[in-house]
């Protein structure tokens, strides 16, 4: 990469903003070109400076940082946006991904981790905090975000889900095999797989889970 990565930093919490700026200033491969307190100011600074990277706090008053990110993307396609938030909210993650953010970092991360993640983004990769990543998925070609009632349930295939319903309602494996038109052995495998996926290893637990998730009438 040629020269240091030029960064616009926006956060309405002065103490955090200053601390991060201080950390970034110590890095030889990074240069903070503007430190601002709102998304409007970040947008203006980005348009003026054409930085490589814009770091946006999500909970800032005024212009929505997601809108600012979309505008930056429209006007400066080479500039990458990373969101930084104290909150891990499904709604935020979805909006960030919709705005094609290159990263979403939670403020729980140490300053060193944040700096390392920003460096990664500056090099053209993405950076998501593990807690954010856990809620994302890679369905199809694009990274998407699924608001799951229960994440473990999304691991089941439709046939395993069907098996779970029958199993939880107390049917024997023999009957299930006949109903589903598959061999007894395949039913056994579905049972084993779904128990592994849900990390529930007894029938009572499965029934309880199925009722809680609305797969079965209590």
């Amino acid at each position: 990469m040629n020269g240091p990565a030029r960064i616009v930093l926006a956060d309405d919490h002065a103490i955090l903003r200053e601390m991060l700026a201080e950390h970034l200033a110590r890095e030889p491969d990074m240069e903070v070109v503007a430190v601002v307190a709102s998304a409007e100011a970040a947008l203006a600074a980005a348009l003026a400076e054409s930085p490589g990277l814009v770091v946006l706090d999500i909970d800032m008053p005024g212009l929505s940082p997601f809108r600012a990110a979309r505008k930056i993307r429209d006007r400066l396609p080479a500039t990458r946006v990373v969101f930084l938030s104290a909150y891990l909210r499904d709604n935020y993650i979805r909006q960030a991904l919709e705005a094609h953010a290159a990263g979403y970092l939670v403020k729980d991360e140490t300053p060193e981790t944040i700096v390392a993640a920003l460096r990664q983004v500056a090099r053209g990769r993405t950076a998501f905090s593990p807690a954010v990543r856990a809620r994302m998925s890679v369905g199809g070609d694009a990274v998407t975000f699924g608001e799951e009632r229960e994440a473990r349930l999304a691991l089941l295939t439709p046939r395993e889900l069907e098996t779970l319903r029958y199993l939880a309602s107390g049917q024997s494996r023999k009957v299930i095999a006949r109903t589903m038109g598959i061999s007894h052995k395949t039913v056994e495998q579905h049972c084993e797989h779904l128990m592994q996926k849900l990390d529930i290893h007894d029938r009572v637990g499965l029934a309880r889970f199925a009722i809680r998730e609305g797969l079965l009438e209590p």
């Binding site: 994302m136 799951e148 395949t186």
Partner: protein, 623 residues
């Protein structure tokens, strides 16, 4: 008795039965409007009015019929009288005419007969048809006239006696009788026509109907009174229920505020502890004599800050009802880490003893933040039980074998925290686990410490044991399901035997998946296609195969993998729409791999891969 208890009693009273299921006042008002009792009442009123009208109509009609009958009887009596008189007159005049041969009797006879005919012809013919009595009467009269004419012609012939005998003989008498009976039949017929033409109610029937009507009216009246009383009672109950709902809502609000206050108190307490530690370490750093001491103080400061952060994140996940991800934790390491954190919180007269060596490593799977919090709760309880100082002992025990059939892990690891403080009597001990129960004075205790420990332990499939003797001290033991030491230790260190092999043709997806598997504590090796790596290198604990071809094509690839003696379980990532395949492919795939839709959340996927890798490691060890 508290309010809830009183309400429960009230709710179970029998008068409440009709309305017991109605909860909201709005719903109750609607119910009242639709109350079927009102419809029944209206129907009964209409029925009563109809019945009254019917009976009145009958009564009026019956009076009319009686009047007609009376008039008809009077008229019939008059007619009967005149008929009898005329009959007698006819008979007498003809007999006298024959006896005396005088013309004036003959004239009188003719006049009487003409009047009799006129009377009979003038009788009303309506309704009397059967047997035609008036026709019979006129025929009888004609017969009599014929006999009289015969008698008169006999008289003209000079045979007076024979003529006389004819009008006094049996034939004439029979004609008179026939005339009388015809007239009598007419009377009967007319009488019954009148009766049948009325509504057929006799006086007795009318009396009994009137009585029934009266009874009916009385019953309806009583019913109306009863209904009104019920309505009144219902209204009172509704008002009471509305008041009760309002009171309950108020009580709930108050309880919520109380709980919030207690929660805030508990959190403030924990935050306060953290802040004390931060203040302590800051002053240590400020007054540090050399670089080493400052470094130690700063390290302590960082620990305190991360503890504070865990506190807030735990609080947030508590508020959002999230289940925190569990990770393998080595209890000895955790206690050692916490020692540095606890030390500043203990006064000088309390000695902290740790007995954590000697059992090797004790691993459990838990959320480290919650575990530390539970541990600190027990330690601070022990501290508070020793205001005059003493020994706070933390001990890790030999894993205990769990009772058979209990399910889950076989062994329970244990942390015991004991003190030499004031102890508890049996009664206090029995209450110690109840929420909001606290023996600590001046608001220092929230009564949430032990319940939160118990909740944590139960959520992790373990149990909390408390032993105490007054004056001798208390011992609290957290028993948590142990996980096999070796595999987990390796997992936590990122050892190769908990490695995952990730196969994906898409570099972007591969990177993201690798990061997610890394988050789950797996060492990830990745490659573009399966055959590159499967045969050689370190055997992976789990293989994650991001499959982009037809699902059926994965079958031979997976079979080849098994043939090459790679035992690692395979997670086969397919497009969501490809996870529904025909039964033959479904069976083949189920046998060879675990199919997961690519759209599954990465966190859940990472955890699944981890579980499979841990199990595979156990299997390898067992073999």
């Amino acid at each position: 008795m508290n309010i809830a208890g009183r309400e429960a009693r009230r709710a179970s009273s029998p008068t409440n039965m009709a309305t017991e299921t109605k909860t909201s006042s709005h719903g109750i008002r609607n119910e009242r409007r639709k109350d079927p009792a009102w419809r029944w009442l209206a129907a009964a009123a209409i029925a009563a009015v109809a019945m009254f009208a019917w009976l009145t109509w009958h009564a009026v009609d019956a009076v009319g019929t009686l009047e007609q009958l009376r008039a008809s009887h009077a008229r019939a009596a008059v007619v009967h009288d005149s008929i009898l008189r005329l009959e007698a007159d006819v008979q007498r005049s003809v007999q006298l005419a024959l006896a005396t041969g005088e013309q004036r009797w003959l004239d009188q006879h003719a006049e009487s007969e003409a009047r009799l005919r006129a009377v009979i012809s003038g009788l009303p013919r309506t309704g009397v048809t059967r047997g035609e009595p008036l026709h019979d009467a006129l025929e009888a009269l004609d017969e009599l006239s014929r006999l009289e004419a015969q008698a008169l012609s006999l008289l003209d012939q000079g045979r007076r006696e024979a003529g006389f005998a004819l009008v006094t003989g049996p034939r004439y008498a029979a004609g008179m009788t026939a005339l009388g009976s015809a007239i009598a039949r007419f009377d009967d017929g007319y009488h019954s026509w009148l009766l049948s033409h009325s509504l057929g109610l006799t006086r007795d029937e009318l009396i009994s109907l009137g009585g029934a009507l009266l009874l009916f009216a009385v019953a309806i009246g009583a019913w109306i009174v009863l209904l009104r009383r019920l309505q009144r009672e219902k209204g009172a109950l509704l008002r009471e229920m509305e008041a009760r709902n309002a009171a309950e809502a108020g009580l709930q609000r108050a309880q919520k505020m109380e709980l919030l206050g207690q929660l805030a108190g508990g959190v403030a307490h924990d935050v306060d502890n953290t802040l004390s530690a931060i203040a302590g370490y800051s002053s240590l750093a400020r007054g540090a004599a050399d670089g080493g001491a400052r470094e130690r103080a700063l390290a302590g400061l960082e620990r305190a800050v991360s503890q504070g952060r865990r506190l807030t994140s735990n609080l947030l996940s508590f508020v959002r009802h999230e289940r925190a991800p569990r990770r393998p934790v080595e209890l000895g390491t955790m206690v050692r880490e916490m020692q540095a954190w606890l030390a500043p919180l203990l006064p000088a007269n309390i000695e902290l003893q740790l007995q954590i060596a000697g059992h090797g490593e004790l691993w459990i799977e838990a959320d480290p933040g919650f575990l530390q919090q539970a541990f600190v709760n027990l330690a601070l309880n022990a501290r508070d039980a020793m205001p005059d100082g003493g020994v706070l002992n933390v001990r890790l025990c030999v894993p205990e074998k769990r009772a058979a059939g209990d399910g889950g892990n076989e062994y329970l690891a244990c942390i015991a925290v004991s003190d030499t403080g004031c102890g508890m009597d049996a009664e206090t001990l029995a209450k110690a686990r109840e929420p909001l129960f606290s023996t600590k004075s001046d608001g220092r205790g929230t009564g949430l410490g032990l319940p939160s420990v118990e909740r944590f332990v139960a959520a992790h499939g373990g149990r909390l044991e408390l032993e105490s003797r007054p004056g001798r001290g208390t011992r609290a033991r957290m028993l948590l399901p142990a996980v096999p030491a070796k595999g987990e230790a390796q997992a936590a260190r990122g050892d190769d035997s908990l490695a995952a092999l990730l196969v994906s043709p898409d570099p972007h997806v591969r990177r993201l998946l690798a990061e997610a598997l890394g988050d789950a504590g797996l060492a990830v090796a990745h490659c573009l296609a399966l055959d590159e790596r499967a045969a050689g290198g370190t055997p992976p604990g789990v293989i994650v195969l991001d499959w982009r071809e037809r699902p059926a094509d994965a079958v031979p690839v997976l079979r080849a993998l098994r043939a090459a003696d790679v035992p690692a379980p395979v997670i086969l990532l397919l497009d969501a729409e490809d996870t529904m395949v025909d039964p033959a492919v479904e069976s083949a795939l189920a046998e060879l791999a675990m199919v997961v839709a690519r759209s599954a959340p990465l966190g859940a996927l990472g955890q699944l891969a981890r579980r499979l890798a841990v199990q595979a490691a156990h299997k390898v060890r067992a073999a």
